[in-house]
């Protein structure tokens, strides 16, 4: 596996800069991770980190509303941003000769967002985000599963208890003052990682970064990270049934699990793939192909770093199959893996799939830049991008068994069952 080149710098204002040169295509990716996500939100302001991300596209001191998108697109680039529990990222991929455009745009909003903010823009984007919530959650079959799951897996006062999209009520309450305070608190160079990957000349790129970002003052009063402490286990078997406009029942399972980046989390990644990745996975082979109880099956681990992550699965019942039967069959497969451990064939299969997927993901400079920012932001260790495959391959059968035995157990499980609304009453 070829190594991703990494050159690290830190500006005087604390901005961490990662350069990863790859001149194969005349393209460059610019990626910024801000160390702020929905876990940093205040009570009564759920959804605000994401709403704020939308405001970052509404112009800044020298950039008009809409210009961020139109300038990058007219330059032949693509761009977007996303917000999740731990972080917010902003990214552009564009022809290499337009590198400075992306840096200027990112620096202008990091330095001077607030002069461009108006009540009208906030009201507009509040409406957009509410429509995003309606579209992706409220009007979608099974659409609120992660919201419900987080609320059941984490205690009421835990920062992962509420979803990134937030509640309608809290979105309504967000004010321009909140925008100003959030910006001043979190959108500072010493709370961010800037990665540039692709076709550039290292010295010239670093010079541009300094020109645009060095004048931005640090926030000397960054708040301490939120307290993410939580018991490793839920301590009981939690169940909820949700009648919904769905034709087929679906069972979601979730467990508190060790945070992303730990050895145990690596082992659970491997376990999730043995159970759920591909047509030779345990759940697909058993529930979908052989027993024909399930329409589909999926297993995954939330890559989040605070306190506890989530090891989760969902299975959709075929018509005529009860959720109880489906749940029992799913747990039987998980328990069998926990008890007997994976075979050598299981491990060979998921390791080779993982290596191919990793190579496929890293073909794109945008993905390379995003992972470098992620590892730098979450662990201050961008070099982790080059050990992803070896860490995964180092997981052996005993680690899979013990990681499952520690976390994926009845007294640490939330079971959320969606049933067709008419059948529920």
């Amino acid at each position: 596996m070829p190594q991703v080149p990494i050159e690290r710098h830190t500006l005087d204002n604390g901005l961490r800069v990662i350069l990863s040169r790859d001149p194969r295509a005349p393209l460059v990716a610019v990626n910024l991770w801000y160390d702020v996500g929905s876990k940093h939100e205040k009570p009564g302001r759920t959804g605000f980190a994401h709403l704020f991300e939308h405001m970052m596209f509404q112009g800044s001191a020298n950039v008009e509303k809409g210009a961020h998108f139109s300038l990058v697109q007219a330059a032949g680039g693509t761009l977007n941003a996303s917000t999740w529990l731990d972080r917010t990222n902003y990214f552009e991929t564009l022809p290499g000769h337009e590198l400075e455009l992306a840096l200027w745009l990112e620096a202008d909003r990091m330095a001077s967002l607030l002069p461009a903010m108006t009540q009208e823009k906030l009201d507009n984007q509040r409406d957009v985000v509410k429509n995003e919530r309606r579209w992706s959650v409220d009007n979608q079959p099974y659409g609120d599963w992660d919201e419900r799951m987080q609320a059941l897996v984490y205690p009421d006062d835990h920062p992962y208890h509420h979803p990134t999209i937030g509640s309608m009520e809290d979105l309504s309450a967000a004010s321009l003052d909140d925008v100003g305070e959030f910006f001043a608190t979190y959108y500072a160079p010493n709370n961010a990682v800037l990665t540039i990957a692709g076709d550039f000349e290292t010295d010239a790129a670093l010079e541009l970064v300094k020109r645009h970002f060095a004048p931005i003052p640090r926030n000397a009063d960054l708040p301490p990270p939120p307290d993410m402490t939580v018991d490793a286990l839920i301590g009981r078997d939690v169940r909820e049934t949700v009648p919904d406009q769905v034709p087929l029942p679906r069972v979601y399972l979730a467990h508190r699990s060790p945070p992303f980046g730990t050895d145990a989390a690596d082992a659970l990644d491997v376990a999730a793939d043995i159970l759920g990745a591909g047509r030779a996975s345990r759940l697909y082979a058993s529930l979908v192909r052989e027993q024909r109880l399930a329409q589909d099956a999926s297993v995954f681990v939330f890559p989040i770093v605070g306190g506890a992550a989530m090891f989760a699965a969902w299975v959709t019942a075929r018509p005529g199959v009860t959720p109880e039967a489906l749940e029992a069959a799913t747990l039987a497969e998980i328990d069998r893996l926990t008890t007997e451990g994976p075979s050598d064939d299981d491990l060979e299969r998921v390791r080779n799939l993982h290596a191919a997927h990793a190579a496929g993901a890293l073909e794109r400079i945008s993905e390379r830049a995003d992972r470098l920012s992620m590892y730098a932001c979450l662990f201050d260790e961008p070099e982790r991008i080059n050990t992803e495959v070896s860490r995964y391959a180092a997981v052996d059968a005993s680690r899979v068994r013990s990681a499952l035995a520690e976390s994926v157990r009845a007294d640490n499980r939330v079971t959320l069952t969606y049933v067709p609304a008419e059948a529920a009453t």
Binding site: N131, V288, L353
Partner: protein, 447 residues
């Protein structure tokens, strides 16, 4: 600095050169050596899509494509999945109206092994009854699930309403419950035998390959494959016509999923590039007119867009947006106003330049991956486009001027005959729709 920084000199980009060969049995072979890559992507594309099935067996092409990955004469479904996945290979197989395609992306040293398995899968598939029964049931279940999803439901109903009764394009290419239910494994076997053959198939291999070694591998796996495929039938695409509003009632919906449009163009239409640029300007990019107006000015939606879906015969032209229920009527009015406006006047040169520059400038980004490059060659094989299609593509986009966008819009955008379909809460929108004068209103159940 307060102004947009100047760009430096661009580095030229050229779509990768490829070799196009043909085996004696007619199999097309397209080789794209990319020596600096780790991966290789293989795509087989055959004239065996829904357009090649009997209309009375609608959906058989899609089921055939799905059933192919359930094994070969030597390997049953479980063994085939285990064997491929132990190589790090996930074989895909799917069909659309104009083609069926199967392939994989793998690390370069797995090419020979993967190609052998792919050849077995295509040439001597297992196609057994037990797996057929499962996949047919899964397909029927997926239709159930799709109809519970307001967006997918709106898509399906739009097609059914925009085309004349009985027109094949009025249904999804994977068939409807009525056409899938009676299908048998015999239908799948017959479809595969009649349609998947070397003379109607091409294989594209892009990535970490030595072209002569790859050619030898293709020759070894496919050289003695024989047979001829019956190819596709001609599909008549006629629209129902007339401005109508169809409300698919989904009580309690907090949004209306809007679909507005009419018949679009066929792939070979001489206005293809004009239509591509015009649709991008109207609703294809973030700053397009539809998204700017409905999202960034009015806040009615998370996103509004439009596109053509060119096929061998005219596919639909459709604008879409999920909008909050309360603004449904006004959102429709705004969408229609944008369709009127693009016909009424040519875009400014600045507006057009922004879109054209995007389509031209983003060109290399589309081909960053081996899978992207392999996929790019499929339409050349399917639609018989010239070998220099991608090498001349940017020039074709640049040649689209303001007058061309305007005349293309006048010919291809017809709001007067636009069908309006929405899935949403009929009790909340019906009265206002009827009073709007935008068209006759029909309310139909979702189920």
């Amino acid at each position: 600095m307060s102004g947009r920084p100047a760009a430096t000199a661009p580095r030229p980009y050229r779509f990768p050169d490829f070799e196009r060969r043909q085996l004696d049995n007619g199999l097309g072979v397209w080789l794209v050596p990319l020596p600096d890559r780790e991966l290789v992507s293989v795509q087989l594309v055959a004239d065996a899509g829904a357009a090649s099935e009997d209309e009375a067996r609608a959906g058989v092409a899609a089921l055939t494509a799905h059933l192919l990955v359930t094994g070969t004469q030597q390997l049953d479904a479980a063994a085939f999945a285990e064997t491929t996945e132990r190589l790090g290979i996930e074989v895909s197989s799917e069909s659309s109206w104009d083609s069926a395609r199967a392939g994989f992306t793998a690390l370069g040293d797995k090419l020979d092994a993967g190609l052998a398995l792919l050849a077995d899968m295509i040439r001597s598939p297992r196609l057994d009854e037990r797996e057929f029964d499962r996949l047919k049931a899964e397909r029927l279940n997926d239709i159930l699930q799709a109809r519970a999803d307001p967006g997918r439901l709106a898509d399906e109903r739009f097609l059914a309403q925009v085309y004349a009764d009985g027109a094949p394009y009025g249904r999804l290419s994977a068939g409807s419950p009525e056409t899938v239910e009676p299908l048998t494994v015999g239908d799948v076997r017959a479809h595969h035998a009649a349609t998947v053959a070397p003379d109607v198939t091409s294989i594209v291999i892009a990535g970490a390959i030595d072209p002569s070694a790859a050619m030898a591998a293709v020759e070894a796996r496919f050289g003695d494959w024989t047979g001829t495929g019956r190819g596709h039938r001609s599909i008549e695409a006629t629209q129902r016509g007339g401005r109508r509003i169809v409300v698919v009632d989904r009580p309690g919906s907090v949004q209306s999923e809007l679909r507005i449009g009419h018949l679009g163009i066929e792939r070979a239409n001489p206005r293809y590039f004009g239509a591509l640029v015009m649709a991008a300007l109207l609703g294809g990019v973030f700053g397009s007119r539809l998204n700017r107006r409905l999202r960034e000015e009015l806040g009615y939606t998370y996103g509004a867009r439009c596109s053509f879906d060119p096929r061998r015969s005219p596919g639909p032209f459709m604008a879409n947006a999920p909008v909050q229920t309360e603004v449904t009527v006004d959102a429709i009015r705004e969408l229609l106003a944008q369709l009127e406006r693009i016909r009424a006047e040519a875009p400014s040169s600045a507006e057009l330049a922004e879109v054209r520059d995007f389509l031209v400038g983003v060109f290399p980004l589309r081909f960053e991956t081996t899978a992207g490059i392999a996929a790019a060659l499929e339409p050349l094989a399917v639609y018989g486009l010239a070998d220099d299609y991608w090498h001349t593509y940017r020039g074709q986009i640049e040649a689209v001027d303001e007058a061309m966008v305007h005349s293309t819009a006048q010919e291809l955008v017809r709001p007067d005959e636009a069908l309006i379909v929405l899935t949403g809460d009929a009790s909340a929108v019906r009265d206002e729709l009827e009073q709007s004068g935008m068209g006759t209103v029909e309310v139909v159940p979702a189920g």
